[in-house]
């Protein structure tokens, strides 16, 4: 089970956090601080796993961003690396060669995609295409609703002129 997902930038800025196990607010800040100290200082050739408080944190660096997932001692670390990569590929397809700025300004989109990928700390979908399809469908639902709203307000504006 994945206990939480963290996206941290090279400078230690938090870009995304998702908690599947209950961590109180104060604890969350502490965890993030502790882990960024642990992970950001590791050299490039070292393995992608850090043992921490009896858990394992699997991380992978993409450009300036560290994707970290915390799992149990007996979970499959190599698979988590695949899951991270899976997520990154989906983000990449969605944003079109994703960069850190995309994730900053569209952080909610990154969360929506993560929610299509993981629920309750477990993997939900192994097909990138399927995830992309569901996200696109929901985005278009939002678009339609917006258009309706604006056309409605146009009509009202027309009528009250």
């Amino acid at each position: 089970m994945i206990h939480f997902v963290l996206l941290i930038s090279r400078q230690g800025k938090v870009r995304l956090t998702k908690w599947y196990s209950p961590y109180p607010q104060k604890e969350r800040t502490k965890v993030i601080r502790e882990l960024s100290g642990l992970i950001l200082t590791r050299g490039p050739k070292l393995c992608n796993f850090v043992e921490w408080r009896g858990f394992k944190v699997v991380y992978r660096r993409y450009a300036s961003l560290y994707f970290c997932m915390c799992i149990n001692q007996d979970d499959n670390e190599l698979e988590i690396l695949e899951i991270i990569h899976h997520y990154v590929e989906i983000l990449d397809r969605y944003f079109g060669s994703v960069c850190e700025l995309d994730l900053i300004f569209n952080f909610h989109k990154a969360y929506y995609i993560l929610d299509e990928l993981l629920i309750a700390g477990e993997l939900q979908e192994s097909s990138k295409k399927t995830v992309a399809r569901h996200i696109a469908a929901q985005d278009s639902l939002v678009e339609t609703a917006k258009e309706q709203a604006s056309s409605l307000s146009n009509i009202i504006a027309e009528a009250t002129k």
């Binding site: 599947y20 499959n76 952080f107 929506y112 929610d115 309750a120 097909s127």
Partner: protein, 874 residues
Amino acid sequence: MNPFSSGTRLRDMIRSIRGCKTAAEERAVVRKECAAIRAAVSENDQDYRHRNLAKLMFIHMLGYPTHFGQMECLKSIASPGFPEKRIGYLGLMLLLDERQEVLMLVTNSIKQDLNHTNQYIVGLALCALGNICSAEMARDLAPEVERLLQFRDPNIRKKAALCTIRIIRKVPDLAENFINSAASLLKEKHHGVLLTGVQLCTDLCKVSSEALEYFRKKCTEGVVKVLKDLANSPYAPEYDIAGITDPFLHIRLLKFLRVLGQGDVDTSDCMNDILAQVATKTEPNKNAGNAILYECVATIMSIEDNGGLRVLAINILGRFLSNRDNNIRYVALNMLMRAITVDSQAVQRHRATILECVKDSDASIRKRALELVYVLVNESNVKPLTKELIDYLEVSEPEFRGDLTAKICSIVEKFSPEKIWYIDQMLKVLSEAGNYVKDEVWHALIVVTTNASNLHGYAVRSLYRLVQTAGDQEILVRVAVWCIGEYGDMLVNNTGFLDMEEPITVTESDAVDVVETAIKRHSSDLTSRAMCLVALLKLSSRFPSCSVRINDVIVQYKGSLVLELQQRALEFSAIVDKHRNIRSTLVERMPVLDEATYSGRRAGSVPAVVSTSQGAPINLPNGVAKTTSAPLVDLLDLSSDDVPVPSSSGGDFLQDLLGVDLSPSLSQTDTNQAQKRGTDVLLDLLSIGTPPAQSNSSIPEMVSPSDDSKSAINVLEQLSSPSAPAGGVSTPPGSSPMMDLLDGFAPKPENNVPAYPSIVAFESSTLQVTFNFSKQPGNQQTTIIEANFSNKTFDAYTDFIFQAAVPKFLQLHLDPASSDTLPASGNGSISQKLRITNSQHGKKSLVMRIRIGYKSNNKDMLEEGQINNFPRGL
């Protein structure tokens, strides 16, 4: 409309926050935005709720408080449109977690959304439920989720399956309801549903044995077939990763098979073929393939025995271990740890490679490898393995040394074939990484050394040599100083010379040099210096020619700001100066310390040792902070009063140390027991093995009023019980601290009215009990004891009950206690009066068994002990 809320768009806010150059600037921007959002919230502004929530989430991510947005999430979820719901659920998952009461308010909205006609809205509700639901919500909404497991759209079915996992993790009782619908998911073709269905079944098995039985019987073959089809499936672009179709599903199926096969031979047999196929056919080139192999090995190791498969698995691990990729090596070490219980021989074969991994540059790998080496050690390989580890200790990184040292010490202690080897290895460790060695380890080394009488000379000579080269290792120096103090003559005379030793010539003054350098080193701490003083005292007798020089060194500490050192210096210099005739008996060699008693005690006292070493620094009366526990205690870990001594063992460890029962001889001197405790500690530091009556006669001038001595000894006592509050202790001005050492033996003036000193009746790592005594005038038989309890932990105790039992010749009456709650950290105490009538007054002294029960952190605690240090004459 709110004048603020229309102000900035989400994008602009993020931009302006990113533009901030200082943290203060950022706070200002955030404060302004939060104010605007609050205003919008209080006006119930609906047009911009969407935008405000998004802003809040960003602010939340930066670590600012956003609780005022929680209700907005709920409102947003309750609104009819999809965009509002989408952002509302996202906010719900981000800004709230399962412990918040607010969450209950959303149950109804989620329930409605689970029944919504739009499948994406159902999906949002399931996702939120799966990520943050509490136990109550799980109970309330389980039926809706169960229904959704059969929903027509696979997107909903898979979400419902994962949501069910959360529900049964929160409320395992609900598991039974889901068994059938979960089993039907295993027949699905859709990968997402199958993936989540398999995961659900695995989790069901973990919480319900009924589910495990059911799936074993009904589904094993089906699952094996699914895995077989998957492993043999042709290229499927949608699910392909590095040439493998859906490795995620592979891994989940293997995991499920592991749960099914564990502890069941038939089921395990059923999956042998497919496991063998996966283990041999999977391409190990890419991470995805290795992930599957890794999972497959884990399954092979866990299911019921099949020799052939296990060989296959160990071989895979061997390949992993020699892989250049650190990740692969890491998981190999991890898995070998589990394999060792199954087939330790096979793991031993990889010992050399594992040992190499201990020296890896990667901390994670080093840690795994070290733990593995630790379990690999046995009697036959301990010597080469220890040598490797110690060699590596020399070059290891500082942050790794602590772990490494602890493991080496533990290996050496556990498996040492002979004492000389043990001493050699420990000395090597001490000279490389002495400062990482725990107190009990070097204490043990001293105990072992004293026991090996043929190695005394060898040990002290080796230590002498090492100190010349590694004099900066404080712990090494301590051990060396102790041994030189004890066996200095052997060092000089080359007594007990072993054939393998190199000859060495040490003069008496060389030996004193070592101790003198050690005591003068700036980095030496109180314990080391105190030990040095004792060693000097001993050497003054062993080497009479150096005694003037030694006294000069000791005298320098008469003015030490540290009370402990000052006191020792005064006492010792008095002995060196004035009491030549008793000196040699005073500083005789320590009697052999009983190894079995020591190690047994050590096992029992480990928590106490931990608590004292981690405790807050104690302020000595003269304001010098001291972080280690008191030196007197530390010397030989005499902290017996910290540990509830098992009453069965009866005797005091101090007496064991001396091998002499001091109490009869001491009782003749009619000193009270509290004094005795203080002197005891000193006595064995000085190795007095002779009845003190002798010394009595030789020091008549040392008689002093007993109250003086009492206070001085109290200081001593205070030092020897590091956990006692040190605040109230001070030496009365004018009293001469050097008196007290030998005062204990002075006969007390007859006309002294018996005033009984308080005693620490019982002390553990969590609790201290002190007794104050008073007599009713005219009734010598009855003693009134006021017991005071104080709490040494940071948790208050409730339901505090003190019980006591006494032998038949005593009568005990307990008054009610002042309270049944004991505040934390000694902030207040409970007092309780006891009245004891001693029918054999004058013949027998008091003795009492006690039992203390209380609740700490809602856990029932019980402590027991026996008190036999009552002052005499009660």
